[in-house]
């Protein structure tokens, strides 16, 4: 995102939360690519709009929704992104994502486990009842669902 304008100061530090395969391109080269290609430039603008809407929804979510709903939302979003209901995420990572203490994540996760929605051991979490987890999640999960948000905004990615 921030390489769009070439090499300059990055506002954020991105941390990969779950391992996988990544592509890398230098910021300068990326800027040239985007500037020189209308289709890429267009896609980039549309993607930026989706990302902004998602960030706004999550900011609102953190302010008004309770811990269990937010944890459910966070787990579902992560699972959707990696295309698997098995997540290699620590409770520390989830605590950072939700802006709560690690103890709080432990207790919330125990609650989800008691309800049969997830099971987990050290750093390895599995969604066992997706349907129920989706109804436990706050409305934000459905609002920012990656299949639906672009459509909701009237954008084709």
């Amino acid at each position: 995102m921030q390489g769009r304008f070439g090499t300059r100061f990055s506002f954020t530090r991105a941390i990969a939360q779950i391992g996988g395969r990544f592509s890398v391109i230098g910021a300068g080269r990326f800027a040239v690519l985007v500037d020189g290609n209308a289709a890429v430039s267009n896609l980039f603008s549309r993607y930026s709009e989706v990302l902004l809407a998602e960030a706004q929804q999550i900011a609102a979510c953190n302010a008004v929704h309770n811990g269990v709903s937010r944890l459910a939302r966070c787990l579902l979003q992560s699972a959707d992104r990696i295309g698997s209901d098995e997540l290699r995420m620590t409770q520390e990572t989830l605590a950072e994502m939700l802006g709560v203490r690690r103890t709080t994540v432990t207790l919330l996760a125990q609650a989800l486990k008691e309800k049969g929605l997830i099971r987990y051991s050290r750093g390895h979490l599995v969604i066992t009842n997706r349907k129920s987890l989706e109804s436990t999640a706050c409305e934000c999960y459905h609002a920012v669902h990656h299949d639906r948000l672009p459509v909701t905004l009237g954008i084709k990615l």
């Binding site: 929704h65 811990g67 269990v68 203490r101 690690r102 103890t103 432990t106 207790l107 125990q110």
Partner: protein, 81 residues
């Protein structure tokens, strides 16, 4: 630094088995209150049970209970202790 374990009880506990390293008992009290506020934030109940049914019990590494908190004290709208 000592380890403290923050379990949440109604009839049976939701257990904090990993615990948190904290400098002393006062820090454990602060941590417990912080967790209680995070759990009750925008939350009228927990696992379909009123907060009045829940108690946080804080244990040391030997499993001895050090103190407890009534979760209803942290309910939205109540004055936090």
């Amino acid at each position: 630094m000592p380890m403290y374990y923050f379990h949440l009880y109604d009839d049976a506990p939701l257990r904090d088995d990993d615990g948190t390293e904290l400098i002393n008992l006062a820090a454990a009290h602060d941590h417990a209150a912080g967790v209680a506020r995070e759990l009750t934030f925008k939350s009228a109940d927990f696992m379909q049970e009123k907060w009045s049914k829940w108690t946080m019990r804080v244990h040391d590494h030997e499993g001895t209970e050090l103190f407890s908190l009534a979760m209803s004290d942290f309910e939205p709208g109540n004055h936090n202790p």
